[in-house]
Symmetry: C2
Subunit: 477 residues, 2 copies
């Protein structure tokens, strides 16, 4: 896999022209074809090249989404749903051009059912917006991937983030979806009941399908009660191994930790430089505990003892909201802070996830590999889930460096797969990881391809991604 | 829908004869064709008629499952995977004959990874067996559907049960599956990592597919730590409404109840008669709390206050294991206890699940409907999930009664669907509920059918069930 060598999707010039004409007629000013808007709707987040769509449509309801889908289906033109463009694997790129479907105008919170701890939203609602709206209900939506992403995009990419260790991922947080399928029909994947055994799990099939099977137009989400109390803190460790062992002990003891984030020494240095802080520049864990006043103190104290046994500490923790926010701001800024280590560089974020018993070994081997490869790549991880990221800072114009990065990424992904883990815990496959899926899932990729073929026979939904991306689809196109 | 009017699956006599010959050659005595064995492998649990397979094979490993699948695929002969036969919707019936694949010899626990809180098992392992094996590790497998079912069958039917309110269902409890698909190929649906964003969620697609998409030959399961302390008890209420309101308050307050079971007055009477107890014959809640010594006492006390506010109580609870077991034995015996209300009757178990805010209304309307219909049908429910069962005790030889039962079941399912609920919270679709799926999921059923067609084009896996059962498939056959 060459990093910039993405699968080609043949442009259907005639079809694109016809669809643009239809959409101009239907949507007027809500079809945009200016270069800057189109560039914004291609990939802009990482080293991957920007691949613009030919037009951007802003639908306002499900019926309008159906119209766009039907127009694209009639002429076999690619259709790429767009939330906020914060995905990291090129999920919104348009390798064969086509139409970007910007969901930002479908941003209504349709219902909050406080008694049922659920809500119904349009896909363009942003997660921070939803949480602002929920504040008076005593409820919150727990999935936090860092970016203020749209809920539709989060479902499409099976997003998770820092507190998945306690509250799960979008897989658990979505009760049901409404989606427009490739034939233009609307499907509701489930009821609002908490459990269901009513046929195949179409909800989970769409979650993580990255816009390749349907366009999500409505979501029913599970909410959580805002905890009575929160404690949080940061704890340094003498080594990554010691920090990892503390994570394993915490999970095994059943401490219901809400967040447990691993940050390596280089990443701590970047955070200090970026935010002008003076945290210890050694491996650290950031933690948060949710519960009653008594239980969040008990949990923090228990963790403090675990840390001490591994030679870590002091574990500084607080229940004061402002102090916690300051601490956690540093962790949340980690992604952007990293760039201070190599100004002007482009970042490539890896995303392996391994069984937690293998985390220490996987992180240690990866840190050694980074050093041997002569790369700059700080590490942060959702350690409670065995998921960690390296942000490889690279010059995408230097072929020799690109070759070293490619080799490193390949070794890292294969290392995780060999440990019975995955090449992607939460960022998804997009354009960047398709080549690794067959190593991880073997014949499973053929099964996925059969499903894609059955539900989107003309491959109009997000072509060149997930299972039709990378080397895999190269044979087909 | 007439209760006994199941979808016909045309028998393929030539194919069946050829497959039996092949299997006799391959499996010798491990192919059984005696009538009693075949009868045991058709449906035996409820009012549904028994539909025998033509032969029962006992494979011992995945390769042998592949051989059977390939033989059946070559001759378009139905193949029905069989766990323990405890499903309630005719999932193991053989309406077109064919081969029952009895997984009981694939019953090895392959690995227990205590550090990762997971294990790897063959599909024939029974859940009680697994929990006995785990005892020394401090871990347990939480899904408890009542029957001592096989883990493969539980995954295939997306089973849940009494403690799903805290620990989730098979949807959450399975990390990954190995399955033999209709082309005879083996698919591993995921890694052992806790999270994954690696393509379509094939794990969740197979969970609940009732053997219509593939045969599960291995499962990786998530385990839970055995709680330090458990408290449990039983609490009477003046009315179903009061009991339901107490459930809603408990869930909304975020009390992490492990079990909260609703039992109506008639069911309490049956339990008393069956187990010679003298519980109050009014609506009751059975509860269980898991946590530290302090927290299980706190939770029980909090619930006691909620109950009191609804006019319920006294709430008798204990942390003594023997006393709890006695209490919960009464709840677990409810299914069989019911038959004492009408000896010789056949039972039909309904399984609706509604948003919890609608539970009180749905149960009250259903109780009134039972009275008006002149039926005997006690009610038990996994109330914390909004899921409840009526066990309609009927004489399956009395056409007039059958008509009344049919009409009642239809009203109940449509009532739940109208409340944004489902006709099946946990028992699945099988042969009994296919007619209600289109009402609940509309075009979603067509999507399911497209997936089935793509993955099992000759419909060899469990024909006449789930989306190829009931009235739906009648048009097709």
């Amino acid at each position: 896999m060459a990093l910039n060598d993405l699968v080609a999707v043949k442009r259907n010039e005639t079809g694109i022209a016809l669809v643009l004409e239809t959409l101009r007629h239907e949507f007027g000013e809500r079809l945009q074809t200016g270069r800057s808007v189109r560039e914004q709707h291609g990939h802009t987040t990482t080293y991957l090249p920007n691949q613009m769509p030919d037009g951007v449509v802003f639908p306002e309801n499900t019926q309008e989404v159906q119209k766009v889908v039907r127009a694209c289906a009639a002429h076999h033109v690619p259709l790429i749903a767009f939330g906020t463009g914060t995905s990291l694997e090129g999920q919104v790129n348009a390798p064969g051009g086509g139409i970007s479907l910007d969901m930002s105008r479908m941003n209504r919170i349709l219902a909050v059912n406080a008694k049922d701890l659920d809500c119904r939203v349009e896909p363009g609602v942003l997660r921070e917006e939803l949480n602002r709206d929920l504040r008076d209900t005593g409820l919150f939506f727990p999935i936090d991937p860092g970016a203020n992403a749209s809920l539709g995009g989060m479902a499409a990419t099976r997003a998770s983030g820092t507190n998945a260790v306690r509250y799960g991922t979008m897989r658990e947080a979505v009760l049901s979806l409404t989606a427009v399928m490739a034939d233009g029909e609307v499907v509701k994947t489930g009821a609002r009941a908490k459990k269901s055994a009513a046929g195949y799990d179409l909800t989970r099939l769409l979650i993580g399908s990255e816009g390749t099977l349907g366009v999500i137009t409505e979501l029913t989400l599970r909410l959580q009660g805002i905890p009575q109390a929160i404690s949080g803190g940061i704890c340094p460790f003498p080594s990554l191994g010691a920090a990892s062992r503390a994570v394993i002990a915490t999970i095994q003891m059943g401490i219901p930790v809400a967040r447990i984030e691993l940050v390596n020494a280089l990443q701590m240095k970047a955070i200090n430089l970026h935010s002008r802080l003076d945290y210890p520049e050694s491996p650290c864990l950031f933690l948060e505990f949710h519960g009653s006043d008594a239980s969040v103190a008990e949990q923090a104290e228990l963790f403090g003892m675990i840390a001490e046994e591994e030679g870590g500490g002091p574990f500084l923790w607080t229940t004061v909201a402002e102090e916690r926010s300051r601490l956690w701001k540093a962790r949340h800024d980690a992604y952007w802070a990293s760039y201070i280590l190599r100004p002007g560089a482009k970042g490539l974020s890896t995303d392996v996830c391994v069984p937690i018993s293998r985390l220490a070994q996987c992180v240690a081997e990866t840190e050694a590999d980074i050093a041997e490869s002569g790369l700059v790549a700080p590490i942060v991880g959702h350690a409670g889930d065995g998921n960690f990221h390296t942000l490889v800072l690279m010059d995408p114009e230097d072929p020799a460096e690109i070759a070293r990065v490619e080799a490193f990424v390949s070794r890292l992904n294969m290392r995780a797969i060999a440990m019975d883990g995955t090449c992607t815990g939460e960022h998804g496959v997009g354009q960047g990881k398709a080549a690794f899926l067959p190593h991880e899932l073997g014949h499973g990729v053929d099964v996925m391809r059969a499903i894609k073929q059955a539900l989107d026979p003309n491959n109009i939904f997000n072509p060149g991604k997930t299972i039709t991306g990378g080397r895999i689809a190269a044979d087909q196109d």
